[in-house]
């Protein structure tokens, strides 16, 4: 099947998902990100890679944090950045997703950074662009429904590579609400593509999607078993609306079974790192002593995230 994010030469023209990205391409993005890390330490934090280009942040779902990191990344590449809060404007008036896209194309957008509540929405946009013959317009998926959050997946891989160097011997646990998590899907796909020795999906049966083992993970329902001898523990955010209901009885019970405490973390390798895509629910999925402890690399994740997003936008603009 044709991979909609690669052109005929196998180059990245959109970033929609980690799925289908060759291992070398992922490393190429991470290497490029590495070269951008020092830009953020300069007095003038800018490179002219996207000068004269217009990057539209089109967020159909609110997320100030993610939008801000994309905005910073685009600005450090010297792009003109336009933020559109679509949740409050056109769609409220009945405009369809593709109507909105057509309007933004008419405003000469060079790149769309899209967040949408529906899985596959960015794919729909790229398919539309393909039909229009606009292969000069690029799409970056900033999170679609439960499907994918590829820049988060890439920044997580950057973080792991930074601390662990090589993926081939790593045991990684992804813990929590995997069912609803686009971050989990992107991380799992990236880790299996990069050849991690073992990826564990840890959570209660209500929060694990059907046939998840087909994604190449080992399923664990017990947190202790899941964390034991891990090199990396990735904790997932539990959304407020899922804390009480059919999936879980309460946040308190969830924390008692799946919350990462220092005692549980002690079962992992001594040099294990703890990651979280943020924002954290302290006392729900993660204990403050872990979140603020020496093994947490949650804030470096944020820093690396800007370099990774610069890398993605820089590579897309060149293809």
């Amino acid at each position: 099947m044709h991979n909609p994010q690669l052109n005929a030469n196998g180059e990245l023209t959109h970033l929609l998902s980690i799925e289908g990205l060759p291992r070398e391409l992922i490393h190429q993005i991470l290497d490029t990100a590495s070269s951008f890390i020092e830009v953020s330490d300069r007095d003038v934090k800018k490179v002219p890679l996207l000068r004269g280009k217009s990057v539209f942040n089109v967020f159909f779902e609110n997320s100030t944090r993610t939008r801000t990191t994309f905005e910073i990344a685009a600005k450090r590449l010297s792009a003109d950045v336009i933020n559109l809060d679509v949740t409050r404007s056109s769609t409220a008036k009945g405009e369809t997703l593709l109507d909105t896209v057509d309007n933004l194309i008419a405003m000469h957008a060079d790149m769309f950074v899209v967040r949408h509540a529906a899985s596959g929405a960015p794919h729909l946009i790229t398919e539309h662009l393909r039909r229009l013959g606009r292969n000069d317009v690029h799409v970056v998926n900033a999170g679609d429904g439960r499907h994918a959050h590829p820049t988060q997946g890439l920044l997580d891989m950057y973080t792991i590579r930074h601390y662990k160097k090589d993926f081939s011997n790593l045991v990684v646990a992804v813990v929590g609400d995997i069912l609803h998590s686009r971050v989990a899907r992107s991380d799992i796909t990236a880790l299996t593509t990069l050849g991690a020795a073992e990826v564990r999906a840890v959570g209660p049966k209500t929060l694990l999607p059907a046939a998840i083992e087909r994604m190449g993970v080992r399923v664990c329902h017990d947190l202790r078993e899941g964390v034991r001898d891990c090199d990396v523990v990735i904790m997932l955010r539990l959304q407020n609306e899922r804390m009480n209901g059919a999936l879980l009885p309460s946040a308190r019970e969830y924390f008692s079974c799946y919350g990462l405490t220092p005692e549980i973390l002690a079962l992992a390798k001594p040099d294990a790192i703890v990651m979280h895509p943020g924002p954290m629910n302290r006392g729900v999925e993660i204990d403050s002593d872990v979140a603020d402890g020496p093994q947490a690399v949650i804030l470096p994740q944020v820093t690396f995230g800007i370099a990774v997003r610069m890398a993605v936008m820089g590579i897309l603009a060149g293809n």
């Binding site: 099947m1 909609p4 929609l16 799925e19 369809t96 997703l97 593709l98 949408h116 529906a118 899985s119 596959g120 929405a121 794919h123 729909l124 539309h128 679609d144 429904g145 439960r146 499907h147 994918a148 686009r182 899907r185 999607p209 059907a210 046939a211 998840i212 087909r214 994604m215």
Partner: protein, 417 residues
């Protein structure tokens, strides 16, 4: 000219009901088939149709056709060789009033294309609250009753079955448990998990099938289960038939060919209700149809472009099917190496028997509803090639083998290519 004497000659005549598959001439007079092989005494043809290299079979009978615009869809039906079709009650407004049913029947009779057999709403407005007036609806022309895709609680379902059984009305159900299917848009399996789509578990079907079978055996209602999608679902029906329950079922043509894998990267043309399931389910559906446990329906659902140009979960389920029913059935027969006469039974005499209508056979004396097709003619599926207003199908761009050349309804040529 409507009631002319026709002589169809040089054809390969296939009539599954009567076990015929041989070169035979066919004679039509006064809207009926009057002879096969030799002309009846004193027959003189007004028109002689040379069907060399073509197959003559009964007009197709479709168990589920949604009509958007009546005229284009009935034109699509006869272009696809379909001469009789059952229309589910989820029209706008739903078929819960005798007047609406009469109007639909009258309108289709005026058009004189395919015959339309309405399925009445089981409950008023399909709301699942109060029974519809089944007697009045039956008198207006309904040949059975159904909730279409709308939910119904089990107590009302029991009552509806009791009431329908009282008058020997057939009941059709699309078995899906509303709670297990809640918010779901795709088969709860590998693909939905990978793509982050909310799943509909197989148990949504099996729970509903088991419930329906249990209540049907208690009430004695004649039950037809529409559009089964899973291996476990057809297995329940197989077991029920073994214990001699009067139940029948069908499988939509798309489910005979496609699986969850065909969703690819969120292709909304592969959004169906019920969802496309796993490969193993598809194989079990093929086996069930092959053995005659299930008939095939087109599940024709015209969806306009706006309904599909949306993220997968927001897109309208369904695809155009009338004009693909025959070629996709031929393709399946070829793939599973089933003799044509047996394969065509699934879209002619089997559904006619389920609906209890005169049709689906070439018996002498029966209505001259006939499909003449070229089994080898290739054509490409494109919006322009389809007469239906529904242009959406996962088969857009595909080459099909098998094209209808002529369709007769009641001895009248209603389509000719």
């Amino acid at each position: 000219m409507n009631r002319q004497n026709l002589h169809i000659r040089n054809a390969r005549l296939i009539d599954p009901r009567n076990g015929l598959d041989e070169p035979l001439d066919l004679f039509v007079s006064d809207a009926r088939i009057t002879a096969i092989g030799q002309p009846p005494a004193g027959f003189s043809a007004d028109r002689s149709i040379d069907a060399s290299g073509l197959i003559v079979c009964p007009g197709l009978v479709d168990l589920s056709t949604r009509l958007g615009g009546i005229e284009p869809e009935l034109a699509a039906a006869v272009a696809g060789g379909v001469t009789s079709l059952a229309c589910p009650p989820d029209t706008k407004p739903p078929l819960d009033e005798p007047g609406l049913v009469e109007r639909l029947v009258r309108r289709s009779e005026t058009l004189g294309l395919a015959r339309v057999y309405p399925i009445g709403a089981l409950t008023q407005a399909l709301a699942g609250q109060r029974l519809a007036e089944m007697n009045g609806l039956a008198r207006a022309g309904c040949i059975g009753f159904s909730q279409a895709n709308q939910p119904i609680d089990t107590q009302l379902l029991l009552r509806a079955m009791q009431y329908a059984a009282t008058f020997s009305y057939a009941l059709r159900l699309r078995p899906q448990d509303q709670f297990l299917a809640r918010d779901g848009v795709a088969h709860d399996g590998e693909v939905a998990s990978r793509l982050g789509l909310t799943g509909i578990p197989v148990s949504a079907e099996t729970v509903a099938v088991a419930t329906a079978l249990q209540l049907a055996s208690e009430t004695g209602v004649r039950l037809h289960l529409s559009r089964l999608s899973s291996a476990a679902g057809v297995e329940l029906v197989r077991a029920a038939k073994r214990s001699r329950l009067p139940v029948s079922c069908d499988v939509a043509i798309h489910h005979l060919h496609l699986s969850e894998m065909d969703i690819g990267y969120f292709d909304s043309n592969a959004r169906f209700d019920p969802p496309l399931r796993a490969h193993s389910d598809r194989d079990a559906l093929r086996a069930a149809v092959r053995e005659g446990l299930a008939a095939i329906c087109s599940d024709h659902t015209p969806v306009d472009a706006d309904g599909k140009q949306l993220p997968f979960a927001e897109a309208t389920p369904g695809a155009t099917g009338l004009e693909l029913l025959l070629p996709l059935t031929l393709l399946w027969a070829q793939q599973v190496k089933l003799p044509l006469a047996e394969a065509l039974a699934r879209i002619t005499c089997d559904p006619a028997e389920i609906l209890g209508i005169d049709g689906g056979s070439l018996s002498v004396g029966s209505r001259a509803d006939i499909c003449i097709f070229d089994p080898d003619e290739a054509w490409r599926v494109s919006p322009e090639a389809l007469r239906s207003q529904g242009k959406n199908t996962p088969y857009l761009g595909y080459e099909m083998s098998g094209r209808v050349r002529m369709t007769l309804v009641g001895g009248r040529i209603v389509f000719e290519a």
